[in-house]
């Protein structure tokens, strides 16, 4: 606002302009110039520009940016990254000699920018000293380290069942309105304690949704370690197409600077739509579901850029959480199968679970993490290692029990343990739980300390128990954070804490 007020004073404007004009240095350089042959639907065909590169930044007559995509014998097919209304047949196009690049660096944190790095939040100019091409090869094999550091999402079900490691690609997939974005947001909210920088890339979303996301981040104090890259549904398909690559370039710069970075692509279905539109308009041959032939490469080259670098290269990491929306739970559609096969696992959200009150609505059977197990904290592994199996057994037995068959006591106990476990896995939005609290909680459930708590009171137990730990067992929480494994000492402290809590502090009511 202060900049704006300054600009409203005529003398100030004149002074700024005069100094700018005085300092300006003209340079006389040969520039490749082409002519627009036809333009429409965000696409232009340009004659001339014989030396253009794929992905080169082009400058149209009114300073609108473009990106050369199709290099044909006598013409260049380009996408227009912005408003195309002032571009007409016959207007000139200059080649810049640079690939399409975005500003990068720590200065972008806390900002909302468009896919070209221009501010959308009215907080003044983006002061970034460097730029980086949006398309860039992924880190080489020998520069990488195995995924071995956990990325704590703060979501109990994910940290226990489908643990995510730094540098991993974990897909969040599910129908509309099943809590996909909430999982991604909650993960961002949990990163302040671990010093992980975050990027949220919104592709083809409603502006109101994006505003809501920004608002949630701001209210929870998470915006300051986050960059939001937004290409809303009304943005040209070209901008939606480069948005994830632009976000990735910003994340990569931080990763090569030795930082741990988390990037969310919300969502890649709409990205595939935008690319399909561009491809068809550029008259590339359509394939299955009218998507172009290189749809797989479109996403694989993006997700391969997630990496965990070895110590010699700074030890940074880029963890990617792409989001894909399915129609009626159809995992076998074209885009979902592609991305499932590219990523290191998926978190599958189910509408039915969501409506029956299991939130986050994670389907434990279909959700997997192929590399995260190696990165899981040892203490977590020892309390949650058997969860997958126990839940699977529970589901099987629950089906049997429905028939009213007589069940023996062990089965009965396993059933009760299972439903108690399902209760514990539930969690409200924007309320991350710390790793040490999760360990204590899972320890209590799996070792049978909750068997005498009625099912309806499990949530109350959880709330009071975690409060008790925070107030009276700070030493235990710290010990778990530091040792990160379930040593005998910690185990005895846990048992002591649970017994003490159940005897004195637990108030379950009627």
């Amino acid at each position: 606002m202060s900049d704006l007020q300054a600009m409203q004073q005529p003398e100030a404007i004149a002074r700024v302009l005069r100094s700018n004009i005085g300092e300006y240095q003209f340079s006389l350089r040969p520039v490749a110039v082409g002519t627009v042959m036809d333009v429409g639907d965000g696409i232009a065909h340009i004659s001339g520009l014989y030396d253009a590169m794929v992905g080169e930044m082009l400058l149209f007559a009114d300073d609108t940016l473009g990106m050369a995509l199709n290099l044909e014998e006598n013409a260049v097919g380009a996408i227009i990254l912005g408003d195309a209304r002032h571009i007409v047949e016959g207007s000139s196009v200059r080649a810049t000699g640079n690939l399409v690049s975005v500003p990068v660096g720590l200065d972008l944190l806390g900002r909302v920018v468009d896919p070209l790095g221009r501010p959308l939040d009215g907080k003044g100019p983006v002061r970034a000293s460097r730029v980086r091409p949006v398309e860039w090869p992924a880190a080489r094999i020998i520069d990488r380290a195995p995924v071995n550091e956990p990325l704590q999402t703060g979501i109990k079900a994910i940290d226990a069942l489908v643990p995510i490691g730094r540098g991993q690609r974990e897909l969040i997939i599910g129908d509309r309105q099943t809590g996909k974005t909430t999982i991604a947001l909650d993960t961002i909210l949990n990163q302040h304690r671990d010093d992980v920088l975050c990027l949220y890339v919104a592709i083809g979303q409603r502006l109101s949704t994006i505003a809501q996301v920004v608002n949630t981040l701001e209210r929870n104090g998470a915006l300051e370690h986050t960059i939001v890259v937004a290409a809303d549904a009304s943005a040209p398909a070209a901008l939606q197409y480069i948005a994830p690559y632009a976000g990735c370039a910003m994340g990569e710069d931080l990763m090569y600077g030795g930082r741990d970075v988390l990037i969310i692509y919300d969502d890649l279905t709409k990205h595939a739509w935008a690319y399909r539109q561009i491809s068809l308009l550029l008259r590339r041959p359509p394939g299955r579901e009218a998507y172009p032939g290189d749809l797989f490469y479109l996403h694989s080259r993006l997700l391969e850029r997630a990496a965990h670098l070895d110590a010699a290269h700074g030890g940074g990491s880029l963890t990617a959480l792409p989001i894909v929306e399915t129609q009626l739970g159809d995992l076998a559609a074209y885009v979902p199968t592609n991305i499932i096969s590219i990523t290191d696992g998926q978190i599958f959200l189910e509408e039915e679970l969501f409506h029956s009150g299991t939130r986050p609505a994670i389907n434990a059977g279909l959700s997997v993490s192929r590399v995260g197990g190696a990165a899981q904290v040892r203490a977590m592994k020892s309390v949650a290692g058997q969860l997958h199996l126990e839940l699977a057994q529970y589901r099987e037995m629950a089906v049997f029990a429905q028939f009213g068959t007589e069940i023996d006591q062990t089965t009965q106990l396993a059933l009760e343990r299972g439903s108690c476990l399902r209760e514990v896995l539930k969690q409200g939005p924007h309320r991350p739980v710390a790793m040490e609290d999760q360990v204590a909680l899972y320890y209590a459930v799996t070792r049978g300390h909750l068997d005498d708590v009625p099912l309806g009171k499990v949530t109350v137990f959880e709330r009071q128990f975690l409060e008790f730990l925070r107030q009276k067992r700070q030493a235990l929480r710290q010990a778990i954070t530091i040792q990160r494994e379930l040593s005998e000492q910690i185990e005895s402290m846990l048992v002591d804490a649970i017994t003490d809590f159940k005897q004195h502090d637990m108030v379950l009511g009627d």
């Binding site: 700018n20 110039v33 082409g34 501010p119 959308l120 009215g122 100019p125 701001e218």
Partner: protein, 86 residues
């Protein structure tokens, strides 16, 4: 080649020599007098343009000033504090 006013033979010859030096190949000059470039010289060889005209210089200056002001104009963007409260 476009110029604002007719040139004398000596200047044409000097320009011709200079252009051959820059492009490193024989060239034939086709001079067009266009008063609307105001001054200077504008040359096109194939799809390569060297814009030394006064309008071209003014145009780059306008571009430069606009890029300096762009950030200030962005205050009216959609994600201003007002937009977030909706």
């Amino acid at each position: 080649m476009r110029v604002a006013a007719p040139l004398d033979d000596q200047t044409v010859q000097a320009l011709h020599d200079a252009l051959i030096r820059v492009f490193k190949r024989p060239l034939e000059l086709d001079i067009e007098v266009k008063p609307d470039i105001l001054g200077g010289v504008w040359v096109r060889v194939g799809d390569t343009v060297i814009d030394g005209s006064l309008t071209g210089k003014l145009e780059t200056l306008r571009h430069h000033l606009r890029s300096q002001c762009h950030s200030l104009l962005s205050a009216s963007a959609r994600f201003s504090a007002r937009g977030l409260k909706q």
